[in-house]
């Protein structure tokens, strides 16, 4: 059974953004000099010319609030990531906190998801942070998304931040988990800068956990401009979404097909049911969502993505998008059965060819010269990343946190050069990678290529590093030795550092 997605009724028209702009917060310092283009790098939060890196820790405690979450910014410097200082932000920090409500609360999970883009039009990179268990208006776990602006004095040290919550027009829904997934895009073609956010546990009428995905665009000042909400609905009846599909578990935004000057919204629904009893999951691709209605909607299942339909394929558990000159979308399907191995996992890769797109290949363990072996339960593709190396060649990063290499579930990650060459396998059992493989350490829980357009070092999160209660991240540059990154001292109590990158 196919699935269509369409903008929810009135949401398709320009919608007044429901007063989510934060009033000037109490603790915000006076604005510093504006961020200027003179020095700023492309992934540069403080405009000093060096790319900066953002790491989420949704388990961090702050004050006496357990699991409220924190996000660490590692400022770049001459020596690379983190050599320009660091800052750890919570919901109580300047530029994040708002006068609208209380700050951090236990269990909010601030930093569960992070994304970066130039939301306002200054050259300092801005950061978008999800807190999917944030209570809103007394309703539990509605979820919130924080836009924190870069400035020469650092993240959040310039103008006040913006807090987004699910729309107020039909009331925010308890336990929607808005901000569970996030993506952000610079202004492109005809579209302003954009944020996509998933709320995968939103109930649609009687259908629990059907899920919704939001696309939001911003003015040049970085304030919300308009917003649309999308959900899947049964193509026959057009009533009621599919229960339990978890549409919005992952999101991506940017042009892939249709009009290359408009953003497309790409949404994973990893529990999407099929006609039978199976829940293979699905990927929904909504073209040109900034227009009055999407110009095309495609829903891809296992057969479209070169995947076995056996078992729970979990299509769209993770997504990674890389904008042009040729656009790519990597789709994590960690439940895919490969060569008879359940939950081995696979990563279909879609490539734009202008008005349309095509499946370029489906990457699994052991392809591209990787030394990893397809095994039951590795969950290859639980996290994915895309980037271009300094020479512009596209590369894919894949995490398989349930891989067992030295000890059970120590996890692994690999970097696949798509233009050719051997894949690079990484975990702490690999010579030269600092630290020790740990049982259930989950190396590769998250992956990302740092820097603008993913041109920097490959990063792999180890939130359950057995040697560091705080969690850690491995930074693996193209040349030179990998480095272990642990959270810098801060008033927070880190616990899952590296859970989101």
């Amino acid at each position: 059974m196919g699935v269509t997605a369409y903008a929810r009724t009135a949401a398709a028209t320009a919608l007044a953004i429901a007063a989510l702009t934060a009033p000037a917060a109490h603790a915000v310092p006076p604005p510093a000099a504006a961020c200027t283009a003179a020095h700023a790098g492309k992934a540069d939060i403080n405009g000093d010319g060096y790319d900066d890196t953002v790491i989420g820790d949704p388990g961090a405690g702050t004050g006496d609030r357990v699991g409220a979450g924190a996000v660490t910014v590692l400022y770049g410097g001459k020596g690379g990531i983190g050599t320009g200082g660091s800052a750890t932000l919570t919901q109580d920090s300047p530029g994040v906190a708002t006068a609208a409500g209380p700050g951090a609360a236990s269990g909010d999970g601030f930093g569960w998801s992070v994304a970066t883009a130039h939301i306002d039009d200054d050259p300092c990179l801005d950061v978008v942070i999800g807190a999917p268990w944030r209570d809103v208006d007394g309703k539990p776990d509605v979820g919130a998304v924080y836009v924190v602006y870069g400035s020469p004095r650092g993240l959040g040290r310039g103008k006040a931040g913006t807090v987004l919550t699910p729309d107020t027009w039909d009331g925010s829904q308890a336990r929607a988990l808005f901000g569970f997934s996030l993506a952000a895009a610079d202004a492109t073609g005809d579209d302003r800068s954009a944020i996509a956010a998933g709320a995968p546990y939103t109930d649609r009428g009687p259908k629990p956990n059907a899920g919704e995905a939001y696309a939001m665009w911003f003015t040049k000042n970085g304030t919300p401009q308009n917003r649309k909400v999308f959900a899947e609905d049964d193509p026959q009846t057009r009533e009621g979404a599919l229960a339990g599909g978890l549409f919005g578990w992952s999101v991506a935004i940017g042009p892939l097909y249709g009009d290359p000057r408009r953003d497309d919204l790409m949404v994973g629904a990893p529990r999407e049911p099929s006609a039978g009893p199976a829940h293979p999951g699905a990927l929904a691709l909504l073209a040109d969502v900034s227009g009055p209605s999407p110009s095309a909607v495609r829903t891809l299942g296992p057969a479209d993505l070169g995947l076995s339909a056996t078992g729970d394929v979990r299509i769209g558990y993770a997504l990674a998008y890389l904008p042009g000159p040729v656009d790519y979308l990597a789709v994590g399907a960690p439940g895919a059965e490969v060569s008879g191995h359940p939950d081995a996992g696979a990563v279909p890769l879609l490539r734009s060819n202008g008005a349309d797109f095509a499946l370029q290949e489906t990457v699994t363990e052991g392809t591209h010269g990787s030394t990893t072996v397809v095994e039951d339960g590795d969950q290859f593709g639980r996290s994915v990343a895309l980037g271009r190396d300094p020479k512009g060649r596209v590369r894919l990063g894949v995490g398989m946190p349930y891989e067992t290499s030295r000890v059970r579930h120590d996890g692994a990650a690999e970097v696949v050069p798509l233009a050719g060459g051997r894949a690079r396998d990484l975990n702490q059992a690999v010579t030269g990678v600092p630290g020790n493989p740990g049982e259930s350490a989950h190396f590769g829980w998250s992956v990302r290529f740092a820097g603008a357009a993913g041109s920097g070092p490959f990063l792999a999160g180890i939130p359950d590093d057995r040697d560091h209660v705080s969690g850690s991240v491995i930074e693996a540059p193209d040349t030179g030795a990998p480095r272990l990154v642990v959270p810098p001292p801060s008033p927070s109590q880190p616990l899952d550092f590296g859970a989101a990158l």
Binding site: G67, R175, V469
Partner: protein, 560 residues
């Protein structure tokens, strides 16, 4: 062909029970456990069989189907003379079933409950027979993991070891159980399992020794008590071997070694008992799985608050009468002896006693469950006696094991000015990894414990008898399976164990947690601090959770 035996007495079929499965007419119920119900079946030729049918709600759970299939597969691998032979398997009404040979006879548990301790000759026979069964199981590459009197049937051909519900293949034994989560029956879990160390065949040898003590004395060598108490004694106390014949005494002592590799192998046990050679059992030479054991900390005097109490010492033998309400006849359904289940149907005030315990914990189940309506244990319940080894990583059956008190200091992250500013992080691990900071999986629940902090004797207007410790807890229903599953969090079920051997239930919950039951549907997450009153001079060493088998409460698939 011999005349078919007369069917034994069985409980009648209940509404919803199928009339037939796999060509066997179902005559009635032999027993019910956490995974399924065992029926007595009769083939057309009159041959009897035991037909285990998985519970309806479990049949829809892939995880349990896999487990059930593994049970059948494991049982098939073992020589049939020492276990119940698998005759077939299939599905009836969408529910998987397994047909095994019906073995007529009492379980060792039933027998001892009715007749008291076995006389020495019989005891030797059982010792050999069970050791032979273990030798067959181990040579098939399996660890049984749930050897206990309820899983030994005294048949005409000798003892048979049944129930492979949680048996594991050796090659995966070190990793088959999610870390931090221990499956077994309280009182029958080896120290290395409690410590969450790699597990080998030696765990079954430990259980064999407990079983022989039980059979020879009608009481468990570590007494009786709830799961946490039993685990504490197994790790810290000396066993009470009672009145075992001298020929078995030495063997049992060796088999109860806390160091797994100091225990004999099943084959050695068998030969030693048969040959009467009880002195010459060599230290096991074959170590099947690398067993790590944490270094023993220096002996220290017991903390003043941790004196043994009468309740904590192994008790005199209880009268060998069946404990009402704690048992359902049948091979899969008995409460572990040595536990003290309260009389059934009353809710019991005893910690970790069964909730109106019928059906009692299934063999594959974890522990004496604590119902939600059970009041939390009194603070500082009588601690177990403190033995030579103490203050180490603490695991408890079915449980979340968490931290290790010890030397290497964890970076002290100063808390921001807040009510908790006076608390300081406790040191973790002595260089050993701990479970702090990583999620432990219990069904759909991801449970993460943060770095505990101890400090003041007063907190938010409360005064501690000792000092207060805060333990951060995050519980997340990962919603991963897609099937709607609920996690129920009841903070009163959590216990903090301290280095003096004391156990504490939370004095209060702080912030995001609520003291009563919290239902966490798919995707929900809750977090907060648990506040404990810990005696001065003692450090918290673990947070434990006594949990029931999933599905023990309707609609609840994990009970934290």
């Amino acid at each position: 062909m011999s005349r078919p035996p007369e069917p034994p007495a069985v409980a009648p079929r209940e509404p919803g029970d199928p009339a037939e499965a796999g060509g066997y007419q179902l005559l009635g119920r032999l027993g019910t456990g956490g995974m399924g119900t065992v029926h007595l079946g009769r083939a057309a030729d009159g041959r009897l069989a035991a037909v285990k049918i998985i519970h309806g709600e479990l049949a829809r759970d892939d995880e349990f189907r896999v487990r059930f299939a593994a049970e059948a597969e494991n049982a098939r691998r073992v020589a049939s003379f020492c276990t119940a032979q698998v005759l077939g398997q299939g599905e009836v009404g969408g529910r998987p079933y397994m047909v095994t040979e019906f073995i007529d006879g009492d379980t060792l548990h039933q027998y001892v409950a009715r007749h008291g301790p076995l006389p020495p000759g019989t005891l030797q026979g059982v010792a050999v027979g069970v050791a032979a069964g273990l030798a067959a199981i181990h040579s098939a590459g399996l660890v049984h993991r749930d050897l206990k009197p309820a899983n030994v049937i005294l048949s005409v051909s000798g003892p048979r070891v049944i129930d492979f519900g949680i048996a594991r293949a050796l090659d995966v034994a070190s990793g088959a159980t999610p870390t931090g989560f221990i499956v077994g029956s309280p009182g029958w879990i080896a120290p290395e399992q409690l410590l969450n160390r790699p597990l080998g065949t030696f765990a079954d040898i430990f259980a064999w020794a407990c079983l022989i003590c039980y059979a020879g004395n009608a009481r468990h060598p570590y007494g009786r008590g709830d799961a946490v108490t039993m685990a504490a004694r197994i790790l810290h106390a000396d066993p009470d071997l009672g009145d075992l014949p001298p020929s078995l005494r030495t063997l049992v002592t060796r088999a109860l070694s806390r160091e797994p590799t100091e225990r004999p192998t099943a084959l050695e046990l068998m030969l030693a008992v048969v040959g009467g050679n009880t002195q010459g059992v060599e230290r096991a030479t074959v170590q099947l799985i690398t067993t790590e054991w944490p270094p023993t900390p220096a002996p220290s005097t017991p903390h003043p608050t941790a004196q043994p109490t009468s309740e904590a010492t192994p008790e005199p033998a209880p009268a060998p009468t069946p404990k009402p309400g704690s048992e359902v006849p049948g091979p899969t359904s008995e409460a572990a002896p040595g536990l003290a289940p309260a009389p059934a149907p009353e809710p019991t005030p005893a910690p970790a006693a069964a909730p109106g315990a019928a059906p009692a914990p299934a063999p594959e189940a974890v522990l004496g469950p604590t119902p939600a309506h059970t009041p939390p244990v009194a603070e500082s319940t009588p601690p177990p006696p403190v033995g030579r080894r103490r203050g180490w990583l603490w695991g408890v059956a079915g449980v979340v094991v968490v931290l290790v008190a010890g030397g290497a200091a964890y970076g002290l992250w100063p808390r921001s000015p807040a009510a908790t500013a006076a608390f300081r992080a406790v040191p973790l691990g002595r260089g050993h990894p701990t479970d702090v900071g990583r999620p432990l999986h219990l069904g759909p629940a991801d449970i993460t414990v943060g770095v505990p902090r101890c400090g003041p004797a007063a907190f938010r207007g409360r005064a501690a008898k000792g000092r207060f410790c805060l333990v951060p807890l995050i519980v997340y229903n990962n919603g991963d399976s897609g099937r709607p599953r609920t996690v129920r969090l009841t903070p009163g079920r959590l216990r903090l164990l301290d280095s003096g051997g004391g156990q504490h239930s939370p004095a209060a919950v702080v912030d995001g947690l609520t003291p009563g039951d919290t239902e966490l549907p798919d995707g929900a997450r809750t977090a907060g601090d648990l506040l404990f009153d810990v005696p001065r001079g003692a450090d918290p060493v673990s947070l434990s959770l006594v949990t029931t088998e999933p599905h023990a409460a309707p609609g609840v698939t994990a009970w934290v």
